[in-house]
Subunit: 148 residues, 2 copies
DNA sequence: ATGAGTGCAAATAGTTTGCAAGCTG
DNA sequence: CAGCTTGCAAACTATTTGCACTCAT
């Protein structure tokens, strides 16, 4: 499986995201390109460690992954999630299609859940007078292969 | 503020919860009583460290807090949440009123959000063939006093 | 009395910070 | 060439594990 090359389908997505970086005043480096490429081909949210592990050896230090992912999330190109154990995970915000995930707590298999009541929730937040609202929503369960 | 004594309002709730422990085959110890008492009077979800800090000095080791909270969550008397930074937090499941929280990321102030689309979400999970579904849902924002 | 529960110490996992050197715009 | 970015080392926070001892049932 292509470890550090982007396929045709994800190429334009990465390009578009890199553009967003510049627009946000961040610099485009080979490390960041590689990171975005990895996230673009991932079919589920990745933790910093996992993202790092996907990169060709020597591409980039783990610390850089942490720092970049955090910055990317701040400018909105990545969406933040949490695992049941508290680990932070990130996935590309494909345009405006905010979504969530259903993760098997046994094997890690992940399904995409397009339902999101984020707006509804954030309106509630607004009604309390809160601003800069964000939310985290994750589903966990045992997948069909992990009936355990 | 009453650090380690339960007031009248929370007393019955703690008693009821202790009963649930026995029914689940767990033992009732003075440490666990103290833990539940602390959680019963807390007006927002507490992390293990925070729970421990509320206890009278010497009541119980931090490790015991971790172990107990985890077990309590497993038998359903506590509800698990996550902070934006991944820290796990717990609050008493007052009967069946599953709920969520809106937390100020600056001062920590917390509001209770009674809206929950958990059933809806867990049905989606079931439609994927997943079992033992749980979910985590937390809202974060800046409260009116922390416009920053 | 028997095994669940506890405390203490130590190990882990995930993440953050400091600082000097490197690269982007 | 200014300053954002990176790497390396080290510090930290949250949480887990091993083991002998204690206590609830």
């Amino acid at each position: 499986m292509g470890k550090h090359t982007c396929n045709h389908m994800t190429e334009s997505l990465v390009e578009k995201t890199l553009l967003q970086l510049s627009q946000a005043g961040l610099r485009v480096t080979k490390q960041r390109k590689a990171l975005l490429c990895t996230l673009a081909v991932a079919d589920n949210p990745l933790s910093a460690e996992e993202t790092h592990a996907q990169l060709a050896k020597g591409t980039c230090d783990l610390v850089t992954v942490y720092r970049s992912l955090e910055q990317f999330e701040k400018i909105g190109v990545l969406q933040l999630g949490v695992r049941e154990n508290g680990t932070k995970v990130y996935c590309l915000s494909h345009g405006h299609d905010h979504h969530h995930h259903l993760t098997c707590r046994s094997c890690g298999r992940t399904e995409r859940v397009d339902v999101c009541m984020g707006d509804e929730l954030e309106n509630i937040g607004r009604s309390f007078g809160y601003t800069k609202l964000t939310h985290v929503m994750e589903l966990f369960g045992n997948c069909p292969d992990c009936v355990s």
